[in-house]
């Protein structure tokens, strides 16, 4: 080898021009492919094209009929089990997935007829004390990622981002301006200047009762937080009365909507007990810092409304943040309100049902904008607030308690990614023009299949 290295004469000769040209073309092609993988691909409307991207095994998983598998899984788990086998089966499940059976609502496991019912179990009242911070966890799970949103990109994992527009949807082109957010003057409710009492339907309520605090002698109402003096509030399981009706808002308008943006429907929730609803709404309004009975500048309200419904524009001094919480199979699978806020609309994105485990989140780009999800958009004290429950293979059914019209993971071919149907909740509250939610109030959950 030494002899060959030292004694072999080096003979230089020019390469043919064609070989050099081919080499340059190959280098340029490789660069182009690499750039295309890193950069966002846009369609003719300037919107990001959402497609499956990841290593080869992700594409293999993508070829599976995940939605059909999910529905079959849900059907199998909805079958009623023999009574004698239920305690053993659920204990085995709890052991395998780390469920704490001491905190489930029914201590007698025979009361859960199926694994699906056990999976969607409630917890005992008081099992989850609620912190007084402005933002609390909406679910049991693991915090996968959180941070600040920059340039409308949300970070899925380190180095992999997806578009905020793709996650929440974009406004329809030509959609009419929304109605003012505030009720100029509502005679059903007044808040006195010192903010110690609120009058709802002629009944005086203390603010302690509405927003939580010390005991009060004024009438009590379900749906309000009743914290003890030292341990904070307890979990609120507010069952929403009334039904949701989704009707086409404007037929002619809906006809004009391009299919990729989906049709718009209007779901309004009619409360059975107006007084209870008013007290609940007033509670949320006060926690959000809104004075429902005071005159509010309509222009300012419109500006604020436009800015908060998109999530694109933030107030001076504010920023956009995100957090991602992963619910493992053994976790409690109902989700609660993370703060006092008003849900103005929901957007249902029909999509795939990939697993959303941390393993997949690290490998499958655009995971959270490919999967079926429900974007609940609204506002809170500091501006825009959005909450997006994302389905997965085992839990394709997303439930929203105050929207009984919503159906997820239904049969049929999913539309292209980015398509959604929208419902607005403007009729849900006479005060807040949306669905008001108190911190830790139960909102819905994930069901098997």
């Amino acid at each position: 080898i030494v002899n060959a290295w030292t004694e072999t004469p080096t003979k230089w000769y020019p390469l043919p021009l064609a070989v050099g040209a081919i080499l340059l073309v190959a280098i340029q092609y490789r660069k182009k492919v690499k750039r295309a993988r890193q950069e966002v691909e846009l369609n003719e409307d300037g919107l990001e094209v959402i497609k499956l991207r990841g290593p080869w095994h992700v594409h293999v998983i993508g070829a599976l009929p995940l939605r059909n598998m999910s529905r079959l899984w849900g059907y199998v788990n909805s079958l009623e089990l023999p009574v004698w086998i239920r305690p053993y089966g659920f204990r085995l499940y709890a052991f395998a997935f780390g469920c704490n059976l001491d905190e489930v609502e029914h201590a007698d496991l025979r009361e859960y007829p199926s694994l699906g019912a056990f999976f969607y179990r409630r917890l005992k009242p008081g099992a989850r004390p609620v912190d007084h911070a402005i933002l609390v966890s909406p679910a049991d799970g693991r915090m996968l990622h959180f941070g600040r949103i920059t340039e409308s990109r949300v970070e899925q994992v380190k180095g992999i981002t997806y578009s905020l527009d793709a996650l929440l949807g974009i406004e329809r082109p030509g959609s009419p301006a929304p109605l003012p957010v505030a009720v100029a003057h509502n005679r059903d409710m007044e808040v006195v200047d010192d903010h110690e009492f609120a009058i709802v339907n002629g009944i005086e309520y203390s603010l302690d009762q509405l927003i939580g605090g010390t005991s009060s002698s004024t009438p009590s109402s379900p749906g309000t937080r009743t914290p003890s003096s030292d341990e904070g509030s307890t979990l609120v399981n507010r069952s929403t009365s009334g039904s949701s009706t989704a009707t086409p808002s404007e037929a002619s308008d809906a006809d004009d909507v391009p299919k990729k943006f989906g049709a718009q429907t209007d779901a309004s929730v009619g409360p059975e007990n107006m007084e209870e609803t008013l007290v609940h709404d007033a509670s949320v309004a006060l926690q959000m810092g809104v004075k429902p009975a005071l005159e509010i500048d309509v222009k300012a309200a419109l500006d604020r409304r436009r800015s908060v419904t998109s999530g694109k524009h933030v107030r001076p001094g504010n920023a956009l943040f995100f957090s991602v919480i992963y619910l493992a199979p053994g976790d409690y699978h109902r989700y609660h309100s993370p703060t006092a806020w008003v849900v103005e609309k929901r957007r249902h994105f029909v999509g795939e049902l990939f697993s959303v485990s941390p393993y997949m989140a690290k490998r499958l780009e655009n995971l959270f904008v490919l999967n079926e999800r429900v974007a609940l958009l609204g506002r809170w004290k500091h501006g825009f607030f959005g909450m997006v429950p994302v389905g997965a293979t085992n839990v394709g059914s997303i439930v929203v308690n105050f929207d009984t019209e919503l159906r997820t993971n239904i049969r049929g071919r999913p539309p292209p990614p980015g398509t959604y149907t929208e419902a607005v909740y403007s009729g849900a509250s006479p005060i807040l023009r949306g669905q008001p939610l108190a911190p830790a109030e139960e909102m819905g959950g994930f069901r098997l299949g």
């Binding site: 911070a133 933002l135 909406p138 799970g141 915090m143 959180f146 920023a319 501006g383 959005g386 830790a440």
Partner: protein, 32 residues
Amino acid sequence: STIVLVFEAPEDFEFSVHAGQKVRVGQRLGDI
């Protein structure tokens, strides 16, 4: 299943959890 929160908040908002941490309903996620 997963829940993604996207929200506007004052710039001095700080998360009080760390990535990978187990959280429960009602637990403090962040504050100003």
